[in-house]
């Protein structure tokens, strides 16, 4: 079933956020692997911000992604 436009936008924005701040690997991944990695990274982000850890892109997680913030990643070394 095609994903509605707004949902695609949200997912793309979330992927951009996670690749910038949580080292979500860039580039093409297999469909199943892609969703596993995204879920893991979402969980990592939710745990960092003390949100409910679901691995899903819920409204609260997406709202946190939209907050103004520092450009330095939350995990790993910035070098």
């Amino acid at each position: 079933v095609p994903i509605p436009g707004a949902e695609t936008d949200k997912r793309l924005q979330a992927e951009k956020y996670l690749s910038r701040f949580y080292n979500l690997p860039a580039g093409l991944l297999g469909a199943r692997k892609s969703s596993d990695v995204l879920q893991t990274k979402l969980k990592e982000m939710q745990a960092f911000f003390n949100l409910k850890v679901t691995g899903k892109l819920d409204a609260e997680t997406f709202d946190t992604m939209k907050l103004p913030r520092c450009g330095v990643p939350d995990v790993g070394e910035y070098n």
Partner: protein, 364 residues
């Protein structure tokens, strides 16, 4: 700190401001940057000397979009700034997004606060998970000394303490499942529940799975940093917040003009200097105001204090003790909070129905 504990090998660091933002006066930018370095110098042995030419350890610049480091900015809001961990070359360098509106006030983005956060990275700190700490990755405004205990622990792990000066860090954020947790004030706000504790408030929203902790000042910069009591008058769509002898009003999340007002305008005697708890009962149109071991009844319809008050809390609400910290009303039940206890009190049958931990309201 980073896993490899990146830090500068010496304590005498240099910085240079390469350019200025047009949003602020040059002198104000210089002051914000200098004050930001002073914050870290006050808790470590580090010193910061400004250079006007050549290469400094920490090079500071304002730039928009792509600015030559493969970490481009994104226009207004979103990314505000970034800084590189200690090291040669770009290490320590700090870049601010010129597309933001930089200020020295609480509106938009306060340069001093963002600079202090970024210099934390330039000195070797990573992001903190603790809401309310300076190194938390999302921006929130808060006046006064910006470092929390968590920030100070981090920087002193790398450089040690300042041998000469002592500063008072901000208190840590309250832990919602601390069994001894008490509340300063609780109110409903258009179907949400707001629980005030120290400089913070929790927001419980029916559609949010977890309570959200935020600094009071980051949502309402005009409110005092801590509050004593609050109640919602849903008929007037207004939340009244008390701190000391003053009160403020909210309509939704917006401050109502014409406040703060003195609590004595409600008809309280001058000897009352603080309200401990407040609760509105829609069925009667009365607002109960609790101070020490007594309470008053204010009639919202006539805007007058009812006669025959104050009365002793212990006599009229048997079983809840002599004092209360916070109170809320819901469908015939009053919920009183005192220390780490919550008393569920039936307003109709005039007795305590159950007693649970105060933080059970936070799903603990």
């Amino acid at each position: 700190v980073s896993p490899r504990k990146l830090k500068w090998p010496n304590n005498n660091l240099t910085f240079r401001i390469e350019n200025f933002t047009p949003d602020m006066k040059k002198a104000d930018v210089e002051r914000a940057i200098r004050q930001a370095f002073n914050v870290w110098a006050s808790v470590t042995p580090l010193t910061f000397k400004r250079l006007h030419s050549g290469i400094a350890d920490i090079m500071i610049s304002f730039a928009a979009r792509d600015h030559g480091d493969f970490n481009s900015f994104d226009g207004p809001n979103g990314l505000l700034a970034h800084a590189y961990a200690p090291g040669k070359g770009i290490g320590g360098d700090t870049h601010f997004d010129e597309d933001e509106n930089w200020t020295k006030e609480s509106n938009d983005y306060n340069l001093f606060l963002v600079a202090t956060h970024e210099f934390g990275h330039a000195l070797g700190l990573e992001h903190s998970r603790e809401a309310g700490s300076l190194m938390f990755p999302t921006y929130s405004y808060s006046p006064g000394f910006p470092l929390s205990e968590d920030d100070i622990d981090g920087i002193q792990e790398l450089y040690g303490p300042n041998p000469n000066r002592k500063v008072k860090p901000k208190p840590d954020a309250p832990k919602k499942c601390d069994p001894m947790l008490s509340f300063d004030a609780i109110t409903e706000l258009r179907g949400e529940t707001i629980l005030f504790k120290d400089r913070f408030y929790w927001r419980i929203h029916p559609q949010m799975p977890e309570p959200e902790l935020t600094l009071i000042r980051s949502t309402w910069p005009a409110l005092p940093k801590e509050v004593d009591a609050a109640y919602e008058n849903s008929d007037k769509d207004m939340v009244v917040i008390f701190s000391g002898i003053k009160m403020w009003a909210l309509s939704g999340y917006d401050m109502v003009e014409g406040y703060p007002k003195y609590i004595h305008k409600l008809g309280l005697p001058k000897k009352v200097r603080e309200i401990d708890a407040a609760v509105h009962i829609p069925e009667t149109g009365k607002t109960l105001l609790f101070t020490d071991e007594q309470y008053w009844s204010y009639d919202e319809r006539t805007s007058t204090m009812d006669v025959g008050f104050p009365r002793a809390i212990e006599l009229d609400f048997p079983g809840i003790g002599k004092e209360v910290d916070a109170a809320v009303y819901d469908s015939g039940t009053l919920y009183f909070f005192h220390d780490y206890m919550r008393f569920e009190y039936s307003y109709r049958s005039r007795k305590v129905i159950s007693i649970v931990r105060a933080n059970s309201i936070l799903n603990c």
